[in-house]
């Protein structure tokens, strides 16, 4: 009788070990750890790729001249800074022989609606200028605005004639910045 009881007990213990520890551990905590290891390995791969990409981008950026980077930043600055634009336009008008009589700011009409404008990476506003001066002065002023280091679009203008050679001008200039 004892000869059969001990092997039976061994079998019961073996089954208990298998179903009580081996199986739940393998499908439970071991599987979870394997999943975490896979995620960590994947993240490490991504980090390695990121490092390579960062080096590539750094090399590409270093290949751009510092002056060109500065010009690019001036072209599309990080902030609205419309005051400096107004100062620049006033200075340009003076050099061109044009007299600026008023400058107003208006929200730029957003293509695609307000939501699209809010999501856009670029912001824009319109400056509405009124000026008087000769035709040549106005042409010189327009040419200066078009070739401004900061990107300025003349989106509308109106010229009113006179008999004195001094005309009235209304001008809408759109300026942009990177949000």
């Amino acid at each position: 009788m004892t000869n059969r009881l001990v092997p039976a007990a061994a079998l019961v213990i073996a089954l208990a070990i298998f179903f009580g520890y081996v199986s739940p551990t393998y499908s439970g905590s071991v599987a979870e750890i394997k999943e975490r290891v896979m995620r960590a390995t994947s993240a490490l791969d991504a980090a390695a790729r990121f490092g390579e990409k960062q080096n590539e981008l750094a090399s590409a950026r270093n290949a751009i001249l510092v002056d060109d980077l500065a010009r690019l930043e001036a072209l599309l600055p990080d902030s609205v800074d419309n005051v400096s634009v107004i100062l620049d336009l006033t200075s340009l008008a003076t050099r061109s022989g044009l007299l600026l009589s008023s400058i107003n700011v208006a929200a730029s009409p957003a293509g695609g609606g307000q939501e699209a404008a809010a999501l856009s990476r670029v912001g824009s506003i319109d400056l509405i200028l009124s000026a008087t001066g000769s035709y040549e002065s106005f042409i010189a002023f327009i040419a200066g605005v078009e070739r401004s280091a900061r990107l300025l679009d003349v989106t509308a203008f109106a010229v009113r004639g006179s008999n004195t050679g001094v005309y009235g001008y209304n001008l809408t200039v759109r300026l942009y910045w990177l949000r």
């Binding site: 092997p7 298998f18 990107l151 010229v159 005309y167 942009y176």
Partner: protein
Amino acid sequence: MAVPPSVPTSFVPRTTPPSVRRGVFDFGGAFAFIGYGALALALLMAAGIFAYEWYLESVEGGARKELQEAQSAIDAATVESFVRLNDRLIEGKRIIERHPMTSAVFDLVEKLTPASVRLASLSLSFTDARIGIVSAKGTASSFNALAALSAALGRDGRIKDAVFSDISVEQGGVSFTLSAATDLALTAFVATALLPTSAPEEPTAPLTP
């Protein structure tokens, strides 16, 4: 002759030893083999799982440590600067492609307007599709002068859909209102606006009332 006592007096066959019995299955031994074998296997698997779990934890710990080092090596400011530069390049290109050269309109109007036509006002605005809408009011010395302007606009083609309206004969000439649209190429930020055009029939004059 007497038989010695050590000599068997009769033949008694010996019984066959158990070890040489054939055809009898030892159930107890087999059961013991299975039981102990299963126990040994279970213990072995338990030890293997324990060791594997420990190994995976150590691998995970190493990976986490490497990941933390990799993350700490990432400079958020550098990444931000790359993103900003990328945005600036893309958006700058996009805006430049739409950048209107309005002075080209003046150049063209100057070239196409005969000296016998005076413009009293001129306005231009752009639609979302970058089409320039031109509107002008002026006076021509005669119908022929007005026709010359109309023909010049038609030949050039960069100021399209020119419609003359409100035409009336007044003292000193023919007054009119002009509405037209500009070609995209005229105001595009390329040198196309500076390409030579066909000369008007009459001498040109700047925008003068």
